[in-house]
Amino acid sequence: MLLHQIAFYVLAAVAIASALGVISFRSAVYSMLSLIVNLMSLAFFFLMLQAIFIGTIQVLIYAGAVMVLFLFVVTMLAPDTESVGGRNPLRWQWGAGIGLGIILAGGLILAVVNGSLARDAHAVGADGLARQVALHGNVEAFGLALFHGFSFPFEITSVLLVIAVLGAVVLGRRILGREE
């Protein structure tokens, strides 16, 4: 299990470094690339947890679809607007960000130290889940859980997607409306 631990710490370092890169690069493209690296390292975390299906979906949806939209935006930025030099006009964001960050970090540390997450995980049956995965395979276990126990949330997802479609059209309505 030593290899497992080494892999975890390396991945953790990559994830944190790339997350810091997202907010510290001045150039939007480098920020975006850091975000992709971050999302990929999350996919590898899922892989280490034997959740290969979730890891693959992470790559497919986040790295492969959501970031493509970012790519569209970022590549169209003019060179002079891509890096904003000088003083930050929104200084109050720093204070708010640091404050919220401390609260989040405190909450996470509290949860980890208390072990409450681990307890809850046992309560919903992480062991049972692992057995299911061993029995049916990864995707099948996920699918059976989704479509037997949680079919209503699954169908609600489609409604969520409908709202997202409407949002996309509203955002682009100026150009779409011009044709009529």
Partner: protein, 418 residues
């Protein structure tokens, strides 16, 4: 040696063979393509370097390596240098889950599985390939963006919009096959075809046609090669790349062709099977290779035959034809599988839909021809407003001498992008 060591050694050996084989096939694929295209155009093609031109890829490789590797001043150096490598990386790792040989009679001990004819039998096989190929867009868009060139950026954006538009159809078309197989594992899908005694092309003809069209668009091949449309965009995202960096992009394109052909062969044509002949030792790999080779030849054939389609047509086909048809196919296949109907139910349905589409398209063509015959001149196409037509006056008899073809009466298109 322990099992773990064997598994690692086997994986390293198989990966090295896979990489070497893919690179060799890429090199000879370029030669085959040039020779075949030349035959289509009644030329000879490259035949000087070695017998039948067999040393041509080697000569090309040397030439590319020793060309000047230009990095334009306007380029973002780091990303410009890395993006061809991203393309190749993504193209090569997608191949990991393709089964190349008979796996039904393979041993089940860990060491035997380690030497099985695939690099990994992932439980999420097909999804893995979809996920990896969805990353292919980065190499192209980042390369085009970092070049600092109009043509490159336009080509990159076009390519991104094109690839994402067809990716959804690929996923939904393959879902029809997954319903029949009940597994995402590529090895398992071939086993399911053996168990059910059919190739899934018979049960999913519509899904195959949709996949074939969408996959061609996904790998940016003719007639969907708009990202590198040389008449409008010089070479698209490739404009500023020279030497080995350009070769790396070519490498990625050809390896992607091999990968999508492998998916088609495995999911629709039974992979390494061939009606019982897969029992002969060594032959499964040959059957698999022949199937992929046929698909690769069709890629070349299509490129030699079909003209490039317009961008608005591209988007129309992707969103308004492929996507609804793939959902229809999925719903009907779902019904057939849920009710336990035999495989020919969805097969007949798919053929029926294909027939209806063919009849509709044929009728539209006939209607146009009839109108043209009546009015005596070309019926104007329904073109988008950004495409302006220029009428070229027919050359008079005195101007066009013998052997000079008169300018066609049909309007020449001058295409501008919005």
């Amino acid at each position: 040696m322990s099992d773990v060591a064997w598994i690692v050694v086997a994986a390293v050996v198989k990966s090295a063979i896979a990489i070497g084989a893919l690179l060799t096939i890429f090199a000879y694929m370029t030669l085959v393509e040039r020779r075949v295209i030349a035959r289509f155009q009644r030329r000879v093609g490259p035949n000087r370097a070695g017998p039948l031109g067999l040393l041509q890829p080697l000569a090309d490789g040397m030439k590319m390596a020793f060309k000047e590797q230009i990095i334009p001043t306007k380029a973002r150096r780091l990303i410009f240098v890395l993006s061809p490598a991203i393309s190749v990386f993504v193209a090569l790792i997608a191949f990991a889950v393709v089964p190349l040989g008979n796996t039904t009679t393979w041993g089940t001990s860990p060491v035997a599985i380690a030497w099985a004819p695939f690099i990994a039998d992932l439980n999420v096989g097909v999804l893995y390939m979809l996920a990896i190929s969805s990353l292919a867009v980065y190499g192209i868009v980042l390369g085009g963006w970092s070049s600092g060139n109009h043509y490159s950026l336009l080509g990159a954006l076009r390519s991104a919009a094109q690839m994402v538009s067809y990716e959804v159809s690929i996923g939904l078309a393959l879902a029809g096959v997954l319903m029949l197989s009940g597994t995402l594992s590529m090895v398992g899908i071939v086993h399911a075809q053996v168990a059910q005694g059919i190739w899934f092309i018979l049960a999913q003809p519509l899904a195959f046609v949709l996949y074939a069209i969408a996959a061609t668009a996904e790998v940016n091949r003719a007639p969907f090669d708009l990202p590198e449309a040389e008449q409008e965009l010089v070479a698209g995202y490739l404009t500023e790349f020279s030497g080995l960096r350009w070769s790396l992009y070519q490498m990625a394109e050809y390896i992607n062709m091999i990968t999508v052909s492998s998916i088609a062969a495995t999911l629709f044509f039974g992979g390494w099977t061939l009606g019982g002949l897969e029992g002969i030792p060594g032959m499964p790999f040959v059957w698999y290779t022949i199937k992929v080779a046929i698909f690769l030849f069709i890629f070349i054939w299509v490129r030699a035959t079909l003209p490039r389609i317009r961008y608005d047509q591209l988007m129309k086909v992707g969103w308004q034809a492929l996507l609804p048809l793939s959902i229809i196919n999925l719903v009907f296949t779902g019904l057939a599988v849920a009710l336990g109907w035999p495989w020919w139910a969805s097969g007949l349905f798919g053929l029926g839909v294909l027939l209806i589409v063919a009849v509709v398209l044929y009728n539209r063509l006939r209607l146009r021809q009839a109108m043209e015959r009546q009015s005596g001149e070309a019926v104007p196409l329904a073109l988008p407003s950004s495409v302006r037509l220029v009428r070229i006056a027919p050359a008079t008899a005195s101007e066009s001498g013998d052997g000079v073809v008169a300018a066609p009466a049909a309007p020449a298109e001058s295409v501008t992008t919005s």
